[in-house]
């Protein structure tokens, strides 16, 4: 590998490692895969517009969670266990244990409603 390429690659690696680190240490946002903010089960019945709209309404209703940090912490508490399977497991547990919210009439698990809200915030940032 040429030295120039190596430096570029190494720099990109440093940035890639350092952004989550900065996010975590300065903003308290845990590292997570942004794709995981799309609730898989709900996307079987809703389009993205609907997910964003429910997310916005969740953020309005639960103003105390209206930040990427709070939502990501709630959804991705375990940095080593982040996956759709884990989120579906959390969703299932919400329904089993009665952790539901009603947003715009939809009876949702707290987890999937938070995913919608996180997706909405990401979309706003973008």
């Amino acid at each position: 590998m040429k030295r120039r390429n190596f430096v570029l690659l190494a720099s990109a690696g440093v940035v890639a490692v350092s952004i989550p680190a900065v996010n975590y240490f300065f903003y308290g946002i845990p590292d997570y895969d942004k794709k995981l903010s799309i609730p898989q089960l709900l996307s079987l019945i809703w389009d993205e517009e609907k997910i964003l709209s429910i997310g916005a309404k969740y953020s309005e209703t639960f103003a105390e969670e209206n930040s990427e940090r709070d939502l990501a912490r709630a959804l991705f508490a375990d940095p080593l266990n982040q996956s759709y399977d884990k989120l579906e497991e959390m969703t299932q547990a919400d329904f089993d244990e009665g952790r539901m919210v009603i947003i715009d009439g939809w009876v949702l698990s707290k987890t999937e409603a938070r995913q919608c809200a996180l997706h909405h915030l990401q979309n706003q940032k973008a």
Binding site: L44, I45, G98, I102
Partner: protein, 519 residues
Amino acid sequence: MHVDARKLPANSIIEGDICIIGTGPAGLSMAMDWMNTPYNVMLLESGGFEYDDKVQDMLAGESTGQRYFPLRSTRLSQFGGTSGHWAGMCSPFDDIDFEKRDWVPDSEWPITRKELEPYYERAHQPLKLGPYKYDLPYWQTQAPNLNPFPLDEKVIWNKIWQLSNVAGWKGGFMPAYKDSIVNAKNIHLHTYATVVAIAANESVNSIQELVIKNSTNNTHKVRAKHFVLATGAIQNARMLLAANEQAKKGLGNDNDLVGRYFMEHLEVDTAEMWLLKPFPTDLNTFNQKLMFWNELAIRKEVQREEKILNGTCGLAPTAYARNKTPVIDTWQNEDPRKSLDNFFNSWHEAEEKAKTLSQGAITRAFTFQTRMEQSPNPDSRVTLSEKKDALGVPLANLNWALTPLDKRSLRRINQIIAKEVGKAGIARIKLHDFLVDENDDSFPKSTNAGWHHMGTTRMGTTPKEGVVDIHCQVHGINNLHVAGSGCYVTAGAPNPTLTLVAFALRLSDRIKERMKLNS
């Protein structure tokens, strides 16, 4: 035999052993139970064999309170009664419907479900139903693919209905029973025989005769050993209240109970269930071959825990339901025939519009029509109007009144199912707007009911608790009885006809026993 009372000479006296007033499902089921007995049955019907606008006028009335259908068009005054526009849905009440429920005021029946059991089975005969089977496993042996949703059976169960072969869309009771009634030697059917007065003895503890009248203005008297009011919950109450010459408050009304506790079934679109994936099943839709229907019901243990009323959710494709005008809006014409036309037109329009929504997730969406009892409420009542019908009898007024318990129960039933389908991972549910605000006890104007009139002559052990006793005899009047859903203490979740016919047959047995003892 059949007599057109318009052709009787003035002041005729008609005599028999038992007089049944009304030829709807209760009256006709009773009359047929007396066929080929040694007793003469006088069977009175206000109308004839065809719809008659002038007779139907006598069912008119005004409504206050929760918006309701025109009283004139929710019933039919002709042979066969309201079976002429009956959907034919039959299912027995549940055990809990008869049990004491502390959270439902005035809900305790003086009899148990078990006492009614043999009559339920007998009621299948006049209603032309299939085998007396209401459990899903039985029906699963009759047809493949009756797969229920994989829901927690401790919370949700599938309640079964059978569809009657004498429902309105098959012509009702008239084509099924006209000939056999007319040809029965001991049944004396009098059409155009409207009861305008009920005369008791001096101490008002026994009925001596009825006065009947029709458009000829001739009056006639009907005498019998026993009299059975079987004209529907509104008319029965109206007749008792209007019989106020000898009893100032009306017959059987010493304790101001006649007309009170009017109940309906709420039949309301309440939520949409969006299946995450297709779920192949032949359940949850009307099975025309088996004449069978099912709805999602809440276990009684859950009802107790949640302190809610009994109710079930039937499913209709959302693409259709979203385009359907609420029945209460389509059924506002005073003429039942026009209302029926409007109803079917709206149905067909919704079907056509639904065809444009044949793609995407909405094809897996179903709207819940929640069918629920209302809480017994003394302020929900039938009273007499100052206006009178053509024969001089005061018309009925209805004040239909719902309670916060009704609203909370409707909401919780849907929330409970929403949790269960979430637990099962099969669907998500969207509540309709009027159910979202937990502090809102009101019901929208579009709230539908089932034309199920119940509770105006409720059953009670003592006269202070009910108008009729446990045998459906009016308290204090030894030969006056009420057949029909007016005797219900609570409304149960399912449609009332099977249960009211069961009660009518039970009353029939009771009167036969008394006739035997007296002879």
